[in-house]
Amino acid sequence: MNKFNAKMIAYTAITLSAALIIGVIESLLPPVIPALPFLRLGLSNIVLIFALVALGAAPAFTIAFLKSVLVPLLVGNPIMIAYSLPAALLSLGATALLVYTRKFGLPTVSTVASLVHNMVQLCVASLMTGTALVFGYAPYLIFTGTLTGLAVGFAAYLILRFFPKKLLEN
């Protein structure tokens, strides 16, 4: 199956739209912890892990790139791109490295991805505010990121496990 045939483009588009819908819904939900409103569940990472494992690296990175640019535009907060784009690409990079070793289960992979995502966002916030004070949030982000990462990875595992294989065959 050629990577850029119509079917793969269609799959990439459908998966991207799922990531966009999840991303927009997630930004509309009230924060999980009111005092830390920037914490997100990272549900769209379910879609990215699925894309990486089921479709391949090129579709997954395309989806990550477009999602990180389009979700902030859809919710009317373009500054978010500065956080979401580097965080999404680097965390997907970490995901890809771990997935290709085939040594780690998806919940663990997703936990690492979530921690990379959070730390990249702190680095961006630190550059934007010109102060390292933002790293004071690191303990909260490590704790919550581990919990959400495990849950998200387990969800991705279940989706891959029970996804009808027929749909991905030519």
Partner: protein, 141 residues
């Protein structure tokens, strides 16, 4: 190149379909991650003392230190309004699109902070005796 990718893609998919959610190598990595998470949780949720002062930074520069026991409203030209009330400080208005700083509500404990990245604005609460006291004291004098 293309053909090797063609071979790999369905294999990776089948591999993760057939594997268990946790593999042997996970034990080590998860042990590290969970230990970090538990340490982080203990660090974040252990009782911190109530703070004495709020330091306000704009663009990384300390622009003011305020006593939390003196009620006050401070308006910054960059589009931020801060309220100090009964030992707590909150960002009550901001012109940023995400409003995260406003939603963070009031903070009062040493080490708590509110950040508004679009406005390059940071509030940190300091106690009476901590390492940063000396630094801020010198800067203010």
């Amino acid at each position: 190149m293309n053909s090797s990718n063609q071979e790999k893609r369905p294999k990776l998919f089948s591999y993760y379909r057939q594997s268990k959610p946790f593999l042997r190598a996970d034990i080590l990595l998860l042990a590290v991650l969970l230990t970090a998470a538990v340490l982080a949780a203990v660090f974040s949720y252990t009782g911190k003392p109530l703070g004495e002062r709020a330091e306000i930074y704009i663009g990384g520069e300390l622009v003011g230190t305020y006593d939390l026991n003196q009620n006050k409203e401070i308006v910054y030209e960059i589009g931020i309004t801060v309220h100090i009330h009964d030992g707590e400080i909150a960002v009550t208005e901001s012109d940023c699109p995400d409003q995260l700083c406003v939603h963070m509500g009031a903070i009062s404990k040493t080490g708590d902070r509110i950040i508004c990245a679009p406005n390059k604005f940071v509030v940190v609460i300091r106690g009476e005796n901590n390492d940063y006291g000396a630094i801020t004291g010198r800067r203010q004098s």
